[in-house]
């Protein structure tokens, strides 16, 4: 029944009576689950386009999507955004990379050794609760207005979620599994390698994704406050110059960057934690 209805709807939409080629039907069927999932997004963008072209919204403030997309394509083609994309990727990449290099080993150590955790926890809680943005002026005074302060403020915001989640992951290791490994002769190091680290990985990935979100947030903030290059800067710059399509193009670029980062992390996690996604008996 449902299939027939879909078919008829598809035919009606084509406004003719010729049978649909199987390719179209197959495509429609393949898209259906996504259609459901992204229906809200599609409707949102559809309304946007409609509202802007029909003048319900002021197109000078909210331009129609096709103009934004054109602005984006133009900017990408003539390379006027290339430098900004490059520098933004560099800033966020270095900061996020530094967070990984510092937070994961430190978190593993703090989670494993009560003494290290007890020593460092109060100061880390203090740091963590202090907004990175509030500290940005301090970082600028310390490191200058250049790259260092920007990277550092991004790092500051992204390191804590990863650190905290790594610690939690280690501490949540099932003590019964540790005991089991011990009975089979595992040394402390072997227990760490074979039990503690693998069992902390899901939590570490939660941290990585939170950390990636913070990275992007602070990237934009830092670039808006005191930069003359970067995607975040271009958002502000385009706005000053009344180039709203370009402004939105830069915003979309940032959103895309966030989605891509998250997607990549989910992909890596799925590969690493294949055991999690398996069906139960």
């Amino acid at each position: 029944m449902k299939k027939v209805a879909t078919y008829q709807l598809a035919r009606t939409l084509r406004f003719d009576r010729t049978p649909l080629p199987p390719l179209v039907l197959g495509l429609a069927r393949a898209c259906r689950p996504y259609l459901g999932r992204y229906a809200a997004v599609i409707v949102f963008f559809g309304l946007w386009q409609l509202a802007s072209t029909l003048g319900w919204l002021n197109p000078a403030v909210i331009p129609p999507l096709d103009r934004i997309v054109m602005a984006l394509i133009n900017a990408l083609q003539n390379g006027s955004l290339a430098g900004d994309i490059g520098i933004s990727l560099q800033r966020s990449g270095i900061a996020f990379g530094a967070s990984i290099l510092i937070a994961i080993p430190l978190g593993l150590a703090m989670g494993s050794f009560r003494s290290i955790e007890k020593t460092l926890d109060p100061i880390l809680q203090l740091f963590r609760q202090t907004s990175a943005l509030a500290l940005y002026p301090v970082f600028i005074l310390l490191l200058g207005l250049g790259e260092a302060s920007k990277i550092f403020v991004i790092f500051w915001a992204s390191v804590f979620p990863l650190l905290m989640n790594t610690i939690t992951g280690v501490q949540q290791t099932d003590p019964r599994l540790i005991e089991m490994a011990r009975v089979f002769g595992a040394s402390r190091l072997e227990v760490f390698r074979r039990v503690v680290v693998p069992s902390a990985i899901p939590s570490i990935f939660v941290g990585l994704r939170l950390s990636a979100t913070s990275t992007l947030l602070l990237l934009v903030a830092a670039e808006m406050i005191g930069a003359n290059q970067g995607i975040g800067f271009q958002v502000m710059n385009a706005q000053y110059n009344f180039q709203t399509p370009l402004m939105f193009a830069a915003i979309f670029l940032l959103a895309g960057l966030g989605l891509l980062g998250n997607y990549l992390l989910v992909l890596i996690q799925k590969r690493l934690c294949r055991w999690e996604s398996h069906e139960t008996a």
Binding site: R176, E179, M180, R182, F184, W275, E276, A281
Partner: protein
Amino acid sequence: MTAMAEGLNVSRVNKSFALKESRLEVLRNIDLEIATGEFVAIIGASGSGKTTLLRILAGLDQADSGTIQLNGASVQGVGPERAMVFQEPRLLPWLSVEANVAMGLELMGESRTDALRQARHYLDLVGLTAFYDAYPRQLSGGMAQRVGIARGLAISPDILLLDEPLGALDAMKKIRMQQELERLWREQNITMVMVTHDIEEAIYLADRIVILSNDQKSALQVMRVDLPRPRQRSDSRFVAYREALLDTFHLNDTADADATSNATETTP
């Protein structure tokens, strides 16, 4: 106590735990000799110290005093000659079934390929040939427990210690696993010490049944089960052992160490 050269010799083992303001005496002057290749079941009410005794044998806990010797050598801490099957399977969820079984062998220094080859052999033994690559969460409770048993057997220990390994299984699976355990014990020629709260399970499997009581003043009671194998639960002598064991529990206060021999004599 005279030290036996062969087998496991537990002598005057005491164990208590510190509570908030007092000490809880759990094991008091435990003497127990287990011959090589013997199947010993430990039964007792919950809280009577069965797990504690097994953990001490495994080397996971330390006795306050007393000695444990295996084939004449003093036992300190964990060791590859003693393997443990826990009440919950305790499998590493991120490792495949075969990798779980292989882990003990790898920790003993075997190469990964050798360890995996032997792991598969033991998985065959417990009837899990089709599940080498499965992940623990894909297994049923009974299957997971078999993996735990395979993992214990794989390191070729002298003694396999089992803590209520079938406690979580339903009645049908339990009986099948009891048969399998007996077969493995026979084929592998291994000493098994198994904690259970199931009296029939103890009679079905054990050469001797050790009864731990909550009452610290009475000594350990031991009952020998003289029945040909495989044992039949409906056998009148099986039933008589069951009655005798039940009596032992009901008559805990008046029974002394000799109740064991009395019990066997009560056979109708």
